[in-house]
């Protein structure tokens, strides 16, 4: 593969966004083709990274600072793989889900392709300002997707989300300004090489971190997430929970380990770790008291995001890999879960847990998908969640921070608690299951397949982790 193919994951969805905006007829076909193309490109890219180490490419031969430089290491490749596969599943699911709503679908496809493109921009960008642009694009398209159906809850949640998102991006931008003011360069690597602790860099670090924590919905800044993720149309919920929060998390990861390592103190990492731990507990507790399925799943996202932040406190190669692996498996599982929940909600009219009683009789596939995805979220073998948890736990024990062991383990139990609460409703047989809409073909299967992949991620973790070690900031965990 020539270096220019690195732009395919960005350009292809962007092209599709433009085309689907103009040609509504073939929107689904175009999107599916885009998905297939993206998968192909991303797989080739990953193999390349695995083979040759980190790749970088300057678009059109224009060097930084004015040109756009793209960079792909193991982390980026894994994230791209995640967005490609989950994105494809969302595309398939949405094709079915929106089949009866042409008016909504019309806007969905361009926006979704746009969001996908911006996500890949974030994963591939090598300079901090481009990252800002990607972040803003992702935020705006996400809010637009969220408010697609124009329902009251979705609109207010979207409005809140938009304000939050903009605030977060601006905080990031201010941080970028301070960094540029200090170093005069924008490339991630170069800043990282020059980094030294100073008030400006500290402030920049604080702004960037807080901004991204806000956008990733780290406790206690998660307030916007549950209403937003639960009120969105189901494919959108899936992509928000699975991918969009990972975008900002990825950014934070990049900055902490590639830009700021010289300026970061362990205490700051502990702060994030503690907030992550709090998120696990708080999100789970709130998930336990929800009466609506999608809200429950949304709070579960709040809790699961907490795991991602624990790696900042542990700071070992295992912890780093574990955190990323958690992001990966959570993406698959949560997408599957929102899809399944969406199918049920769509079919039965609403997502009150009581209404969903007995849906397993009618929609066994969706309930299986929900359950299997739950296994990953609980971190049980053989799921990807287990691998992640294993790595985090070993890191926590290795560094002697046993309280994280407790939190991580306890979080799994809490997850079991709220998921079982939901499952118990889904499995309770009732004589009156009123189906309002039959689920579209393929939507149930898509969720199930995603859930299965999330489960299988535990079995194929060795090669993925190996890919992840390419250019890993803390050094490879493979001896």
């Amino acid at each position: 593969m020539t270096g220019s193919a690195i732009v395919v994951p960005i350009m292809l969805p962007l092209l599709a966004a433009t085309l689907t905006f103009f040609f509504r007829r073939g929107a689904i076909t175009m999107s599916l083709l885009t998905a297939a193309g993206t998968i192909a490109a991303v797989v080739v890219l990953s193999l390349e990274v695995m083979d040759q180490g980190p790749l970088s490419y300057t678009i059109g031969g224009w060097d930084a600072p004015l040109g756009i430089e793209l960079y792909a290491d193991g982390l980026a490749a894994v994230m791209l793989l995640m967005s490609a596969f989950v994105g494809t599943a969302i595309t398939v699911y949405a094709a079915g889900y929106f089949s009866g709503k042409p008016a909504v679908a019309r806007h969905f496809w361009p926006l979704w392709m746009f969001a996908w493109s911006s996500l890949n921009v974030i994963f591939l960008s090598a300079d901090i300002f481009n990252l800002y642009v990607g972040l803003e694009l992702m935020g705006i398209s996400a809010v637009a997707l969220l408010t697609l159906e124009g329902e009251r809850d979705a609109l207010t949640a979207g409005m809140r989300y938009l304000l939050v998102s903009l605030l977060g991006s601006l905080a990031y931008l201010l941080g970028v300004a301070l960094l540029y003011g200090t170093f005069g360069v924008l490339a991630v690597q170069e800043i990282g090489e020059q980094m030294f602790p100073s008030p400006a860099t500290w402030t920049a670090l604080a702004l960037v971190t807080a901004g991204m924590a806000l956008k990733t919905a780290l406790f206690p800044l998660h307030f916007w997430l549950p209403p937003a993720h639960s009120s969105a149309p189901s494919p959108v919920s899936a992509l928000l929970s699975a991918l969009v929060v990972k975008g900002s998390f990825y950014l934070l990861l990049r900055l902490w380990f590639d830009v700021f390592p010289e300026a970061v103190t362990p205490a700051a990492g502990q702060l994030l770790g503690i907030l992550g731990a709090a998120a696990i507990v708080w999100g789970s507790i709130l998930a336990l008291v929800q009466r609506r399925l999608k809200l429950l799943v949304a709070y579960s996202t709040v809790a699961q995001i907490g795991y991602l932040f624990i790696l900042f406190a542990l700071l070992t190669p295992e912890a780093w890999s574990g955190g990323v692996y958690h992001a990966l498996s959570h993406a698959f599982a949560k997408a599957a879960m929102f899809m399944a929940a969406g199918t049920l909600m769509h079919a039965l009219g609403n997502d009150d847990l009581d209404t969903l009683d007995g849906s397993s009789e009618r929609f066994p596939l969706s309930v299986y998908a929900f359950g299997l995805a739950g296994i990953t979220l609980m971190g049980l073998p053989f799921s990807g969640g287990f691998t992640a948890k294993w790595l985090l736990l070993s890191a926590a024990l290795e560094t002697g921070q046993w309280w994280y062991v407790t939190v991580v383990l306890f979080g799994g139990l809490l997850a079991a608690g709220y998921l079982l609460r939901a499952l118990a409703h889904l499995l309770t047989p009732t004589p009156t299951v009123k189906v309002q809409h039959e689920p579209a073909r393929g939507t149930e299967a898509t969720a199930l397949i995603l859930a299965c992949v999330a489960l299988l991620l535990g079995l194929v973790s060795a090669p993925i982790l190996e890919l992840l070690q390419v250019g890993a900031p803390l050094g490879s965990m493979i001896p």
């Binding site: 670090l205 807080a210 806000l214 103190t265 702060l271 008291v289």
Partner: protein
């Protein structure tokens, strides 16, 4: 394994295997008639083994942990009288069990008990003994409850409780015995137990474990219930070979013939004496003849226990004691079971002539138990007397006197038995099959003494000594006096102790908690469990679980709060980095 070995394995296991085979045949419809016909003869192989197979051969069979079969001189005698009794009882049962032929269920249990009983005598290893003993104990339950009456089931329940309690002592006992012996071979047990530091514990476990079967005080209370409940052939085997199995257990597992603390011998001898007299006293108050016989068994087993105690007190004279116990056991098994068979005959005698004849037969049996001259009882008592003489210290004098007094008591008890039989009669058909086995038994207890080794005349002479004559005579006279004078002097109203004596307070105690509960006094545990959940707690729990988290969560959503949190995070992150 060559053919010879195989053949001898078949031979040695046949006493236990044949009954088992017959049980299986009984269970399967096609072979049932044949099995019914053969069941009475099931003990025949055992009898043949007892008579013809020699002492000393041991063969191994790969069952359980490796079971060994063989005979010693003692067990040969046990096998001889046990197998004989099983045969007689089997034949008797064949005719006794109703007009429609003996019931399949009865024979099932009969055969299983037989298998256990004969097996435990033949087996030469700890595990095998335990196996057969357990089989016998549990299977005899079926004989007890065969009648199906409420009393029978009550008796069965009491019996089972004792069996299970005995099991609780036996299992640890057997395990410890094997551990200290380092072997499962019975031959090595007594010496190993005597030398073991655990001998006190083992002694206690074995004594109590087999004591439930021997009916040593205070584990005796099931006998007066189960004998009246079981049908005559069942009662006959229970009172004959089955109860002796417990005695055999003692003989095999206690450190007999080894020097041990005198305390054990004393304990056993005292326990035996207590049972010997207790049985007589309580037995005299009984109305049911079978209950009288049960107390008599308690008493007689007490005398055998005394023999064992003396044997332990004087280990050097153990062979003598062993012989005495064995003879006594054989005698008592024969005599006591003959009384039960005779009871059956008496009950079914509907003509005055047969009834008189039957009563005469019972009288012979009763005299034998009492130890009248020329009966097996006299021989048994004589050999016990000889054993007593070997005891150390002042034991011989005391015991000898007590033995004589006991004999008077036994005679009285037998008289009580005969009086109790008199008014009883049940209509039924009297078969020759009932007479013949009984007659054979009576013959054995009277003329059997002639078959004993040694000069028959001398043996007979021994039984004619003054010491055998006077107690029986005195007993008979006393009984006659009571019979004649009792009603006039108002002595009819002897106190009545319910069969099972101490069982009555025991059941009351056992039922206490139930009655308390019925009376509305709950146990502390129940009181704890019944406490209802305080609604206030439920309220708080709801608040803690749902209300507060939800409120806190929604308050995070206010922009003021959210932005302040955001700013706080920015500042904290800056500060955290500054501070280091």
């Amino acid at each position: 394994m060559n053919f010879g070995d195989f053949f001898s394995a078949i031979l040695w296991t046949s006493p236990a295997a044949v009954p088992l085979l017959l049980i299986i045949m009984l269970a399967l419809k096609p072979s049932r008639p044949l099995a019914e016909a053969l069941a009475p003869l099931a003990a025949a192989p055992a009898f043949l083994v007892a008579v013809f197979a020699g002492v000393g051969t041991v063969i191994e069979v790969p069952l359980l942990l490796g079971t060994r079969f063989g005979l010693t001189e003692t067990t040969q005698v046990f096998l001889l009288f046990s197998a004989g009794l099983w045969l007689l009882a089997g034949l008797y049962a064949r005719f006794y069990m109703g007009d429609g032929g003996p019931s399949v269920r009865f024979f099932g249990f009969f055969l299983a008990t037989m298998c256990g009983n004969l097996g435990l005598i033949l087996t030469r290893d700890v595990v095998g003994f335990y196996l057969f003993f357990i089989l016998m104990s549990f299977a005899s339950y079926g004989l007890v409850v065969h009648g199906g009456s409420r009393q029978a089931f009550r008796a069965g329940r009491v019996y089972l409780i004792l069996v299970v309690a005995g099991e609780a002592f036996l299992l640890p006992g057997m395990i410890l015995v094997s551990v200290v012996a380092g072997s499962y071979q019975l031959e090595e047990v007594p010496a190993a137990v005597a030398e073991s530091p655990l001998r006190g514990l083992i002694f206690f476990l074995i004594f109590a474990g087999f004591g439930t079967k021997v009916s040593v005080l205070p584990l005796h209370f099931s006998l007066p219930l189960i004998y009246p409940a079981a049908p005559p052939p069942g009662a006959a085997v229970l009172s004959g070979p089955v109860i002796k199995a417990g005695l055999l257990g003692w003989l095999l597992f206690l450190p007999t013939g080894e020097a041990g603390p005198l305390f054990w011998g004393t304990l056993i001898a005292v326990a035996g004496l207590a049972a010997a007299f207790y049985g007589v006293f309580i037995g005299l108050t009984q109305e049911n003849p079978k209950a009288v016989l049960a107390y008599s068994s308690i008493s007689q087993m007490g005398w055998m226990t005394v023999g064992l105690g003396v044997g332990l007190l004087a280990p050097e004279a153990w062979p003598l004691a062993l012989a005495a116990i064995t003879v006594y056991a054989a005698h008592h098994a024969l005599a006591k079971s003959s009384l039960f068979l005779g009871l059956g005959v008496t009950e079914r005698s509907n003509s005055p002539r047969t009834r008189r004849l039957a009563l005469a037969g019972l009288l012979v049996g009763a005299l034998a138990i009492a130890g009248a001259p020329l009966t097996s009882g006299a021989v048994a008592k004589y050999s016990l007397k000889e054993t007593i003489a070997t005891a150390p210290g002042s034991w011989p004098g005391v015991l000898d006197a007590l033995l004589q007094v006991g004999a008077v008591g036994t005679t009285l008890l037998m008289a009580r038995f005969l009086f109790a039989v008199l008014p009883r009669t049940e209509p039924g058909k009297l078969f020759a099959g009932l007479w013949l086995p009984w007659a054979a038994q009576l013959g054995l207890i009277t003329f059997g003494i002639l078959a004993l080794p040694g000069n028959p005349l001398q043996t007979a002479g021994v039984t004619l000594s003054f010491s055998t004559i006077w107690p029986v005579t005195l007993g008979v006279l006393l009984a006659a006096a009571f019979w004649i004078l009792g009603p006039r002097m108002g002595l009819e109203a002897t106190p009545r102790v319910p069969p099972g004596d101490i069982l009555v307070p025991l059941t009351w105690l056992m039922g206490l908690s139930g009655r308390l509960r019925e009376a509305g006094i709950p146990s502390p545990a129940a009181r704890l469990a019944d406490r209802p959940t305080n609604p206030r707690y439920a309220h708080y729990s709801e608040k803690l679980r749902v209300v507060y988290p939800t409120w806190l969560e929604s308050s995070l959503r206010y922009w003021v709060v959210a932005s302040l949190v955001f700013l706080a995070l920015v500042l904290t992150l800056t500060f955290v980095n500054l501070s280091v």
